[in-house]
């Protein structure tokens, strides 16, 4: 219970820090960077719920990112929904889609699961491209996303949009944290580590995996909605396999064993992208080299490495205390 309140307190602190950015008059580019990072951060964090906590390596997670973006964008362009209404509708649509896709995919493991999710993603991507009259095809949703006021909030105002995105982002991160620290989260880890043992203990592995799949899809959908609001449009490449690949890069860069690792990876990837793009057009080359260094050199994400060193030091200290106590006891006995 204590750790739960501590996590919520940290989430509140994170929100306050994010909200201080415009208060301190940070330039629009900083806010843009953060908003962009929040959208992709949710994609990576939600994917890590599958990869890091459940051992389900999905190659098709971006389809839910795109599903949220398109459902929200289309609902708003129809003019029949308020922003909260379209928000809920987009998450509901994505949940339903994840339920159908997940019901088929989670029965498989490892490479079979990965490739089936990739296949569903490409199917979804081709539907977006092919259904031109509805989705705009490869041009995406054109003409902007209307942002009518709701509850006095005007998302056409960049500062208010930033605040809205920050709140949605922190709420999603808090939900993810509650999931991974709950008994359900520990069940996910058990499934990741030994699926058969979990089944022998009476856990319905398929149902737990499916629930996890749907939850992570819903969080990815929120990321897609935030990006749609940011760019005022939704585009097919939101759901292309390269976007899923980017999310996996983010997890690799940040680390999958520490809760906020993918978020750190997102910041690193976006920073690398934004900095290298000002110097060279060979962004992918730079990213490739960085990832090679991490994979071959560190063999884990930087946050994972820090966590491991912290743990090693903590254990070393504990061992030193135990050794000292043993030595004292030995000295006492000798005396």
């Amino acid at each position: 219970m204590t750790s739960r309140w501590r996590d919520l307190g940290l989430a509140g602190l994170g929100l306050v820090l994010l909200l201080l950015v415009p208060v301190f008059g940070a330039p629009p580019a900083i806010r843009d960077f953060i908003m962009f990072g929040m959208a992709y951060g949710l994609l990576a964090m939600s994917l890590n719920l599958l990869i890091g906590y459940t051992g389900l390596v999905s190659f098709g997670h971006a389809m839910f990112f795109a599903a949220g973006a398109y459902a929200f964008g289309l609902a708003m362009q129809s003019g029949k929904f308020s922003i909260p209404g379209a928000f809920v509708l987009a998450i509901g649509f994505t949940a339903l889609m994840a339920l159908i896709v997940g019901a088929i995919c989670v029965r498989l493991n490892e490479i079979y699961f990965a490739f089936l999710t990739l296949a569903f993603q490409m199917l979804f991507y081709n539907i977006i491209l092919g259904w031109v009259s509805f989705t705009g095809g490869d041009q995406g949703l054109m003409g902007g996303i209307p942002r009518p006021k709701f509850l006095g909030i005007d998302l056409a105002d960049r500062t208010q949009l930033y605040v809205f995105c920050s709140v949605a982002f922190v709420v999603c991160i808090a939900i993810l944290r509650q999931i991974v620290t709950s008994p359900f989260g520990y069940t996910l880890r058990m499934i990741r580590d030994n699926q058969e043992r979990a089944a022998f203990l009476g856990i319905n592995v398929i149902m737990v995996k499916l629930a996890c799949f749907v939850m992570s899809a819903c969080i990815a959908a929120v990321g897609g909605i935030l990006l749609t609001l940011f760019v005022s449009g939704a585009y097919p490449n939101f759901g292309f396999w390269t976007t899923s690949g980017e999310a996996i890069f983010m997890i690799l860069l940040g680390g999958s064993n520490v809760f906020l690792g993918p978020l750190v990876g997102t910041v690193i990837l976006r920073l690398l992208n934004d900095i290298t793009v000002t110097y060279t057009s060979h962004t992918e080359l730079v990213l490739g080299i960085v990832i090679l260094i991490l994979v071959l050199g560190l063999r884990k994400g930087p946050l994972d490495l820090l966590a491991e060193r912290w743990e090693n030091r903590r254990q070393a200290k504990a061992q030193a205390v135990r050794d000292a106590a043993d030595k004292d006891a030995q000295t006492g006995r000798d005396a």
């Binding site: 820090l17 201080l20 950015v21 301190f24 940070a26 330039p27 629009p28 580019a29 900083i30 843009d32 960077f33 953060i34 962009f36 491209l129 031109v132 705009g136 095809g137 490869d138 041009q139 995406g140 054109m142 003409g143 902007g144 056409a156 990006l227 940011f230 760019v231 005022s232 449009g233 585009y235 097919p236 490449n237 939101f238 910041v267 976006r270 920073l271 934004d274 900095i275 793009v277 000002t278 110097y279 057009s281 060979h282 962004t283 992918e284």
Partner: protein, 423 residues
Amino acid sequence: MTSIEQRRASRRQLLKGAGAIAAAGLVGAPAISRAQTGAIKIGVPTILSGRVAILGQSSVGALKMSFDKVNAEGGINGRKIEMVVRDSKGAPQEAAKVTRDLINNDGCQIIIDAEASSAAFAVQEVIREVGVLCIHTNSETSSLTADPKLYVPTAFRTARQGIHDAIGGGDYAAKVAKAKGLKKWATCSPDYAYGRSNTAEFMEYAKHFDGNITVVEETWPKLFQPDYTEVVTKLLNAKADAMYSALWGGDLVAFIDQANLYALFEKQASFMVNLGDYGVVDQVKQFPQGVYSGGRYNRTVPPTPENEAWYLEYVKTQKSKPTNWSWENAVGAQFLIEALKKTNGDTNGKKLAEAIKGAKIKTPFGDGGTITMRAEDNTTINYIIGYGLSLSKEPYISDFKTSPWEPILELEKQWKKKQGYAT
């Protein structure tokens, strides 16, 4: 010289940005500050990586050449023009972010959007919000300026429009079809919105001008498809009299190289809207002779000293040949320079937009030497449209027929009504 200012400014701005974000208690992000110098800063989001990077580079080359000339003459009221170029990789969301960064971070007062279509629509939405002047120089998708729902008062287009090419091309194709009895047609275009809409519009207008034309086979190879054997076989089996293709870039190069193995171009008349561009000409192993080629950019079209001089200057300064995107950017730069002269260097979006609306410029790429920025929908008209016959060696195109603009504009009006863009 125009400075494609990337390295120096970015480092300075990076430090400022890092300081600002550190104050907010977060990790640093690149860059932030409005330009304080007297230079006129123009942001150019474009594609500099991937399969179409050569087109992005040819866009930047043409812009650089135009602005260098102005700067060499002293600039606009003594203010130099600086370009800040950023690679968006052609991704719409990156293009939107890069455009916002160029304005908010690099202090650009004007945007020349040298993006392909999908990213251009994303840039258009940024411009709607920020209100700076924007010239879309490469997007040929008609709806960008034709659809009143997408209209942004400070956004203009100096690229070709798909519908103009379709009407002009349809008219030319119908004339050839009548003269040579080409009744059965096949199509081979990329399977995405551009390919499908371009082909549908071309065939619609070909049928409009010649009622005997029927389409007997349609093939839709995937974008970036490496193997066209199946497509070529289908086209051969269709035994059509003629074929239309909207393939472009690397796809067109791969298709021609593979179709040559089956002597496809000798068995039927072929019409290819994107063939006559140096980017394709220089890449194809065996450039086909006698194919009806759409006008993109060629040093002999129009055969004027001005066009030849522009071509030679481009090759000399940029060390490469210009492409279709080059002339479109050169026209965009010229409209902008003329507008800046009218506003005495004032970069206010509304003032520049007023100066560009309805303007007419003298240019080597205009039909009759001029191009007009149509006031009603902020898009250019009177640029050169037409078809010619391909040659396997320089100048690669012969017997070029320029399409007259009067019927194009008349039929465009009807098309707009049909699309619900006009009443």
